[in-house]
Every structure is written in structure tokens, then in C-alpha cells.
């Protein structure tokens, strides 16, 4: 288990890039518009290649990300942990009483698997579990 990414909700990715790309000097790998989830995502990998910063900008008002921004303002949103076997990890978390939000992992466009754990069951932290494609 390792950190895959830390996600930050921002009002506007272009504005936030002035801080995280221009001032901190992180590389911007790409910006993706994900209409299905109502977000634009900027991916900024750290130089060690182990993890990245993600900036999330809501593009609709009816999503969890938009509601988070409206309620709490910009800031840290979730922590994503890469695991080797997402089904086994999720089953173990559920057996320990954590609230795993999906019965089955979602599968992304590249075959990656991911799911979320409710922050109320993890001391206030929204945790994403992530498994690389082909593993």
C-alpha cells in the first residue's frame, strides 16, 4: 500500500496551476475533462514518479466534489492509496467495519480499478483505493 495521489478541490484549475505548477514547480502531465463525474482533473506527478497531486475542479453543481467546495471551500479532498488487490483490501476494510462505498470496484478507461471509503468511517478522510491496470 502506498500513496498514489493526494487530491485538492479548487475553484479553477488555471488559477491553481499558478500555485502548484508555477510556484511549486510541479510538472503538469495533463488536464482531463470527465463529464461523467462532473470534474476537470489536473494531474501533477511528483519528480520521484511515485505519486502525484491532483487538482479537481467541479464542472457541475450536483456532485460530491461541488458540494464539498461549496461547504468547505478549497482544500484537501481525498487520499488515494494504491493497493495490489483492491477486492481483497475492500473486503478486509468492510470486515473491520469501514463503509466501502461500492460493492464492486469501478473500472476506469485504462482498466484501472478504484473505489471509495466513506470519510465517516475513516476518521474524516475520504480514501480512494486504486489498483493499477493489468495487476
Amino acid at each position: 500500500m502506498k500513496i498514489d495521489h493526494v487530491a485538492v478541490v479548487v475553484k479553477n484549475i488555471d488559477e491553481a496551476l499558478k500555485t502548484y505548477r508555477d510556484a511549486f514547480g510541479l510538472a503538469l502531465a495533463r488536464v482531463e475533462d470527465v463529464p461523467a463525474e462532473g470534474v476537470k482533473i489536473a494531474f501533477l506527478p511528483f519528480a520521484d514518479g511515485n505519486s502525484e497531486l491532483e487538482l479537481l475542479e467541479p464542472t457541475r453543481a450536483d456532485t460530491g466534489v461541488a458540494k464539498f467546495l461549496a461547504k468547505r471551500g478549497e482544500g484537501l479532498h481525498h487520499l488515494c492509496l494504491e493497493v495490489a488487490n483492491i477486492e481483497a483490501t475492500a473486503a478486509n476494510l468492510a470486515a473491520n467495519g469501514l463503509d466501502v462505498l461500492e460493492d464492486e470496484p469501478r473500472v476506469g478507461s485504462n482498466g484501472q480499478k478504484y473505489l471509495f471509503v466513506h470519510p465517516k468511517s475513516a476518521h474524516g478522510v475520504l480514501i480512494e483505493l486504486y489498483q493499477k491496470p493489468g495487476k
Copy 2:
């Protein structure tokens, strides 16, 4: 620049360890009581050796960590980035308009250097900069 740690404010470290050590399976390296900062800190390194999770439990009511917990509840508190030259990074951030909270880095008990950037200048994220001792 890479993620050194992600810090989570919790009410009670022993309770939070049931989630992060027992359910997620992270190793607990140690728990430190830091009276000067009014916190107890649990260090849980990830297996890849690159970064760790820190659990912060306030031990006094007059600290930033205690006020954060009272206002926002448990959850993600700050993101710590390891840098090679903390003075140069801090000067560059300040030149880009970020609010660096210390004029000089603080120096920890092992010679490590660290300082914080105000979340209002970093899109809501409290960022710690960290430089390993002897570098």
C-alpha cells in the same frame, strides 16, 4: 519534490489506529508526544518507504491542530513535501506571492528543517516543506 507525509487530525490516536493500523494494515513505527507543539503524533510509514501517514492528536486546546479539530472535525490536515533546499524553495514561493509562515525554517530534534505555507495562499491546503537532516 515529493510527498513526505500526509497528516490527519484525529481525536484519539488509539481509536484511529484501529482504522489505519488494524484495518488498513499500515505499520506503526512510533508514537511521539511533542508537548512543545501540543500534539501526539503517530507515524505510519507506507511499505514503499517513500512516505508516511501521520496521525495528529491535540493535547492542548490552544494550538492550530486543536482549533482545526474543533472547527472542522477529524480529517486531512496538511500535506508535507520533501525538498532538497528548503530555503531556496521558500524564497521562491514567497517571490510567487505565497505566504510562508516562518522567516527561517524550524530545525527539529534530528536536524531536519521544516516550515509551513499558509493555506489561504495555497488554495486551501496547509503545506509543510521538509528537508532531511544532513542535506
